[in-house]
Symmetry: C2
């Protein structure tokens, strides 16, 4: 007889943790660090505070021939977490504050918990969360995850007086992993994070006690991203039903104006006329067929304004150039920021940079740096859309060849980065994204070609 | 103030449906068909019945410039689903019968529901499930998924007398998609499924009413896979705790012998001596530290028997050769089945085939066919571990070049296929898997080289 089972979301990601990026002991250390650092960066940026993040990975004991037990501690000066939210924020999978339509690093409600879960299943030790929102108290929780029920288990709870009005969060737990194999990637991660977040202080103390400091070069924060509404082109029936269910508006005109991105009164009236829907119709009175028709009309109507990327916060050409100059010290750098575009109704901006010569090593192939919402992506390069574009491009027509000392940078920011995997390893091959990256690369390649041609002339002149 | 939300598993996969393979309108049609066909194949094989699967995709109406509304109906002669399980099996994400340690196509408890969910959010129509386990009644359910609560909504339920003692399942729903772009991949999918499942009858009627029949070439079913126990090398603390919680055994000797793969009395006693644990110790009395120590000892003990692949059901050299000859009609074919190996305690078997000449087209690059647990994998080739191995291999030393008319087949069967994505698109680059594929390819490449060399001699002789 067939026996059926239901499993919780945490059980699903426990059983399939390589789908969440925790593939092996060395990647697990990397994944744990990156998930916590990204949470801390989001936390500080949500208050427009220049982030101060301190990461310490210390040696706790041996485990096997290739793995050791480490204690990971990440401390930040971010917004903190209220005590009533701490257990679920760190102990319940698919729980978080980033389920909004807004450019942030976090998006799944899963990352921090996966790190804690991995620590728990390899060391059976609880995680310790210390946090304060700057109020009178500091809260200390010791918790584990009940993986089968997807629920936090609070082992201990303490309250301290917040004498110095500290604000921030400290996450600490033990995990088993292979640091020494992961080390190059972890140091790369910090280096590249510093490159695209130059307003952040990052400190990393590794198991050998070595201190790596990435000091901020500016306290100036970029324009923060804003939460936005869904764009009509990205709509499906489920989304419409949810909007209809929660809307306080009693007519279609107000419904459209208030729930959709860049739909003003004029556009709304034109659309309602186009779709033959009365402006005074109550959205809650739409029948099922009318909802489906509304969805098709929203996709078919050609006069909706394209998504406005003012809700996004790109790096900016200044910052990208400065980061490249500082980290790669090239002879030449050219950056190009594409106009905002969309995929599936989500606005996104592609920024591309090409750097040549100077301290960039000749490697036989381009050095490729990929970023999404200011997160460096360091694994599975071959699968990423930008690498596919780079490989498909005819570089020779720009007189550029892979054996030249060249580095290419691609950054995408969006309200929803089209990650292909839960582990945020690479970007899916979406045609709209591919097109923007290709155009950006052509533009910067053209600039590089111009530089190389000029330099060739200068050299020839010198030889005469 | 930071607002937190929890979302259900179905809401997570609705918001991130491209992570589950439903990336765009053409891939969605492909994904829906493949998820349902794989469910039907599993259902028939679980009873060792040669599968009869009938798939009809019919045109329902227009939707947009590039997409149409289709009705998809998949009918099988499998084991059927009991009425009390139908609503959750088809309407609750992370619910299923395949959460066991057994080689099956299904593994996540998600695929069928994603197809139904996608249909629902594009057409707002319910799904119809008709099933009988061969008993006196046939049950007809009309249901939708409450995506926010991850629960089935039963709209209608009928019971019919099962006069002809029919056994099987019919799943039918509407969805919007781009069939014409998906068509080549869908036909490929049926063709390759028939190739590695030659005991199955597959019938596909497309929207234009064209009939594609893939008739079985044998009624003989392969040895079925068996459910097995976890291997000591794949153990973590959570798994140990769950076993300890459910075990009826009151001493460590019985606990080890009964819950672990290929651990007999002698091995168990040796292990307990090695780890300094008393054979009569009650597993439920182990302290937390002792559980962690037990896990490390299980990984460190060198005398556990390697996983026994008798629980697996590989294609077999006969079948693989016959499938290749029938579908590709080559001049030469060589197959190689590797010995069983393991990754993370999971047994797996790699089977490789190389085919040359005959009707294989010269394409400038190898034609690559990838399979996992008898499922053809048709997307994201570049990311797959087998393609990485193929690209990294030095083919010239076997006198084989990509411009030759050559096809390469790789099949992996395992109690847990290391898919990198929830959409089962490609296999993760696990070192143990990579090694077996590389060895298999070298062996078959050697055979091909021998054939080409002999043929070259014959040609030279003929010219004299
Ligand atoms: N250092 C921190 N400071 C403040 N809030 C935090 C911190 N770390 C986690 N949180 C809160 O806990 C929630 C859950 O974090 P988690 O990493 O599990 O998911 P996420 O960041 O929302 O999404 P993702 O899975 O993409 O990382 C966050 O949404 C955030 O509200
Ligand atoms: N045609 C069918 N015949 C019999 N049982 C079925 C059929 N289709 C689905 N089921 C049952 O419904 C369950 C859920 O199917 P679903 O496709 O959602 O998940 P799964 O097959 O278990 O895993 P995966 O997500 O990997 O496909 C299956 O485990 C199976 O028990
Ligand atoms: Mg996070
Ligand atoms: Mg399935």
């Amino acid at each position: 007889q067939t026996t059926f089972e239901e499993i919780s979301a945490s059980d699903f990601f426990y059983r399939n943790r390589d789908i969440a990026g925790f593939t092996n002991p060395s990647r697990a250390i990397f994944a744990a660090i990156r998930e916590l650092v990204e949470n801390s960066l989001d936390a500080a940026e949500s208050l427009r505070i220049p982030p101060d993040i301190y990461v310490r990975l210390s040696y706790e004991g041996g485990a096997s021939k290739e793995t050791q037990i480490f204690r990971l501690r990440v401390e930040d000066n971010g917004i903190g977490v209220l005590p009533r939210h701490i257990p679920s924020a760190f102990g319940q999978v698919l729980f978080g504050s980033k389920y909004k339509l807004k450019q942030q690093r976090g998006t799944f409600g899963l990352g921090g918990k996966m790190a804690i879960l991995y620590g728990q299943i390899t060391t059976h030790q609880p995680a310790c969360i210390i946090s304060s929102t700057g109020m009178a108290k500091i809260y200390i929780y010791k918790l584990m995850i009940d993986i089968q029920r997807n629920r936090p288990l609070i082992l201990d709870r303490k309250v301290l007086i917040n004498k110095e009005q500290w604000k921030g969060t400290i996450v600490e737990f033990c995990l088993e992993g292979d640091y020494f194999r992961a080390m190059p990637k972890i140091l790369d991660y910090f280096k590249q994070t510093a490159m695209v977040n130059p307003y952040a202080n990052l400190t990393f103390v590794d198991p050998k006690g070595r201190l790596y400091r990435f000091t901020r070069v500016t306290r100036e924060m970029p324009e923060p991203p804003k939460e936005t509404s869904p764009h009509p082109y990205g709509v499906d029936v489920e989304l419409l039903q949810r909007l209809i269910q929660i809307t306080p508006y009693k007519n279609m005109l107000e419904f459209l104006r208030n729930h959709f991105h860049r739909v003003g009164e004029i556009t709304a009236r034109k659309f309602l006329e186009f779709s033959n829907i009365s402006p005074s119709k109550n959205p809650k009175k739409l029948s099922h067929e009318e909802i489906v028709k509304l969805m098709h009309m929203l996709k078919r109507f050609k006069e909706f304004l394209p998504p406005d990327a003012s809700c996004l916060s790109p790096l900016g050409e200044e910052l990208l150039k400065a980061g490249v100059l500082k980290e790669l010290k090239p002879e030449f750098v050219s950056v190009n920021r594409r106009k905002p575009a969309t995929y599936a109704g989500h606005p996104f901006i592609i920024e591309v940079g090409i750097a040549y010569g100077g301290e960039i090593p000749k490697k036989g192939s381009f050095m490729i740096y990929r970023f999404a919402n200011r997160i460096p992506l360091l694994y599975d390069e071959a699968s990423d859309v930008s690498v596919r574009v780079i490989n498909a491009m005819n570089w020779r027509r720009y007189k550029v060849t892979p054996d030249m000392p060249t580095a290419i940078l691609v950054h995408i920011c969006s309200t929803k980065v089209p990650y292909k995997t839960v582990g945020k390893e690479f970007i899916a091959d979406r045609p709209e994204v591919r097109r923007e990256i290709a155009n950006g690369l052509r533009e910067t390649a053209r600039q590089l070609q111009r530089f190389l041609t000029r330099r060739e002339h200068v050299d020839r002149e010198r030889k005469r």
